[in-house]
């Protein structure tokens, strides 16, 4: 493989990894605070893609307006899902909330099937993102570079929010120990709602870029990225935001590279993420950057 080819694959891998990272951060934030695998995260991602699509196709909004509205609405949707399906189960055994998350995921998927139909929809790709840029011998779609750039900007923003602001400190406190955090006067429910809002907004941003990268919308499109990004979050250490970012990039680059180097294994591409998950959980359950957390019963 020539260096040019390698660099091209690398750019592809990083842009895919960036999208994984955006979604993985949503998983990890929710898990860090509620110790809940939000199985519905992938389906919120799917809903966001359709919202952005209909904003442009049905309401004829300019793409930037549609995308911004989508991010806002998706954040609200995340908060609503938490309020309706997870908050009532806060005192129940942890598995109950997990089962409820499975229920929400099923509901969103099926609402998607009924409302949007099973026929794939073509996501719009604004001209700005469809340019082809040449760097020497390497050809890159402008979208690929934009994805990397935007993802990095968003991730820096998340870092700033979580590690440099007051509400971020509250989130970290709650994820350490929500009981004590409550005693310190932190409003637990507000922090949880905010976490869901941010996580869902990130998923929406990821979803829009995903839609432009793979412009085919289906009601079940959130399932596979959802699971993979959860794996990315576990890979990096669930509950750790830098870990989720690292996991996302590793998974994205790894997937592209494996197919690039071993084309015969392409059929097993999907299984690699799972094998990585199984290995990491058995060898280092805390993930690459995670801290060992005692499981709360």
């Amino acid at each position: 493989m020539s260096l040019d080819m390698f660099l091209q694959h690398l750019a592809n891998g990083i842009s895919l990894g960036g999208l994984y990272a955006l979604i993985a951060v949503g998983y990890t934030m929710v898990y860090g605070i509620l110790r809940l695998i939000n199985f519905a995260h992938g389906d919120i991602f799917m809903m966001a893609a359709y919202m952005a699509f209909y904003g442009v196709a049905l309401f004829h909004l300019p793409w930037y307006v549609s995308f911004a509205v989508t991010i806002g609405l998706t954040a609200i949707m995340g908060v609503v899902v938490e309020r309706v399906a997870y908050r009532p189960l806060r005192d129940a055994p942890r598995i109950s909330a997990l089962i409820s998350a499975i229920g929400v995921s099923l509901l969103l998927q099926n609402v998607g099937i009924v409302a949007f139909g099973g026929r794939p929809k073509a996501f719009p790709r604004p001209a700005l993102f469809a340019l082809e840029w040449k760097f020497g011998e390497i050809r890159v779609l402008s979208l690929t570079l934009f994805i990397i750039l935007i993802t990095l900007l968003i991730l820096v923003g998340v870092f700033y929010l979580v590690y440099r602001t007051k509400i971020g400190r509250a989130m970290r406190a709650v994820s350490w120990d929500f009981g004590i955090a409550g005693l310190m006067g932190i409003d637990f429910n507000r922090v949880v709602a905010l976490t869901f809002a941010i996580g869902s907004a990130l998923a929406a941003a990821g979803s829009i870029m995903w839609g432009m990268k793979f412009p085919q919308l289906l009601p079940l499109m959130g399932v596979v990225p959802g699971l993979k990004c959860f794996i990315a979050a576990v890979l990096g250490g669930i509950g750790s935001i830098p870990g989720a970012m690292l996991g996302g990039f590793l998974l994205g680059v790894g997937e592209i590279m494996i197919v690039a180097f071993f084309p015969t294994l392409a059929g097993y591409k999907y299984a690699f993420a799972y094998l990585a998950l199984i290995l990491i959980l058995l060898l280092r359950p805390a993930g690459l950057l995670g801290r060992i957390v005692e499981q709360k019963a």
Binding site: R35, L36, I37, A85, P88, L89, A92, R94, I95, S96, L98, I99, S100, I102, G103, V104, L106, L107, N110, V111, I113, V114, G118, L227, F230, I231, V234, G267, Y268, Y270, A271, Y274, L275, L277, I278, L281, L282, P285, Q295
Partner: protein, 351 residues
């Protein structure tokens, strides 16, 4: 009530039930029989999930994988040789399998045993983990199984699937297997092993300090559940007569979880009732997928509407009736008789 009376009642009702099945097999139309068969298969899966989660407290999302192993094993063993050649037109089936065609019983046993072995192999690593981590890893294994089946062209025919599997499954087979599964798991649950399972569910540390080997017991429950799950898979393959890898995605595992939760986690009676309700509700709701006319207004049918209804029911149950239909209680003759007594006793007083 005398000590032997419940056992007698059980025997009598079992005989009656089987006579009814024989009658149903001969007299009901294929559609109804298919529904009854599906109920029995769902009973098997829900009951085995109950063994892992309800009794032993380990949340597994790997049922689809074991079902797939059972279904493919039974399918490959029962497929007539001519059908095999027709199915595997891209790449021929590998050597020992392309010359054998077994009757149903040995095929089912093979399906169950292979799934049981897979249960041991998957259980050994997965059961090291707890809670949702274990759920994820089992889900991962089941998806890996599906992807492997999708790609092993010369063994499973890949994504083309297998067609023309003989329809050996009838009501006697399916309900026979379901009752056998219930019976064995019930026996197991009331044995010392079963008490150890429940101790593990309640408190792992406390159970360990009383000398219960956590790992051995968890593995035992997991492998036995996998074994019967595979049996159910074999029955399913020979009922629906075509299988392909996408049937066995994790959605199938979700379905098993749903049925069990609906019935009440920890209650086998609940699992049976919930399977019956789930399968029949799914059929009864079929009309809402089609257009209907209500008072002169035609509501266009939307395929998938019943899945939406179903998901809502599922969410309502988990949010508001977390105990499910039965909670953890089981059906017993004593309970039924005391109910009847109270009912008729009151009537006598009124008269």
């Amino acid at each position: 009530m005398s000590k032997h009376a419940p056992r007698m009642l059980t025997a009598v009702s079992l005989v009656t039930f089987f006579l009814l099945l024989v009658w149903a097999e001969g007299n009901l139309d294929p559609y109804l029989r298919r529904i009854l068969n599906l109920i029995a298969i769902n009973v098997i899966w829900a009951v085995t999930f109950n063994l892992i989660y309800g009794y032993t407290g380990q949340f597994s999302l790997g049922h689809a994988g074991f079902i797939a192993i059972g279904a493919y094993t039974a399918a490959l063993l029962t497929l007539p040789l001519a059908q095999k050649e027709q199915n595997f037109f891209l790449t021929p089936l590998i050597s020992p399998l392309n010359t054998i065609e077994l009757p149903f019983l040995p095929s089912l046993i093979g399906a169950a045993l292979l799934a049981g072995v897979a249960g041991i192999l998957i259980g050994i690593p997965s059961l090291q983990l707890r809670g949702d981590y274990m759920a994820l890893v089992t889900l991962g294994f089941s998806e890996v199984i599906r992807v492997i089946f999708m790609n092993l062209q010369s063994l499973t025919n890949g994504s083309l699937g297998l067609k023309g599997i003989p329809g050996h499954t009838n009501l006697l087979w399916s309900w026979g297997c379901a009752i056998l599964t219930i019976f064995i798991i019930r026996k197991l649950a009331s044995s010392s092993y079963g008490r150890a399972f429940k101790a593990i569910r309640e408190d792992e540390i406390a159970a360990e300090t009383t000398g219960i080997s956590l790992f051995n017991h968890k593995l035992m429950a997991f492998a036995i559940a996998a074994l019967f799950t595979g049996l159910g898979g074999g029955l399913m393959a020979n009922l629906i007569s075509t299988v392909d890898p996408n049937l066995f995605s994790f959605v199938l595992s979700y379905q098993v979880v749903t049925v069990t939760v609906l019935g009440g986690v920890g209650s086998l009676t609940g699992s049976v009732l919930a399977s019956a309700i789930y399968v029949s509700l799914f059929e009864l709701l079929r009309p809402i997928d089609q257009p209907m006319t209500l008072g002169g207004i035609t509501i266009p049918g939307r395929p998938g509407m019943r899945m939406v209804m179903f998901s809502i029911v599922f969410l309502v149950v988990i949010l508001f009736y977390r105990r499910g239909l039965m909670g953890t209680s089981e059906f017993s003759w004593r309970w039924l008789l005391s109910k009847l007594e109270r009912l008729f006793g009151r009537e006598r007083q009124e008269a």
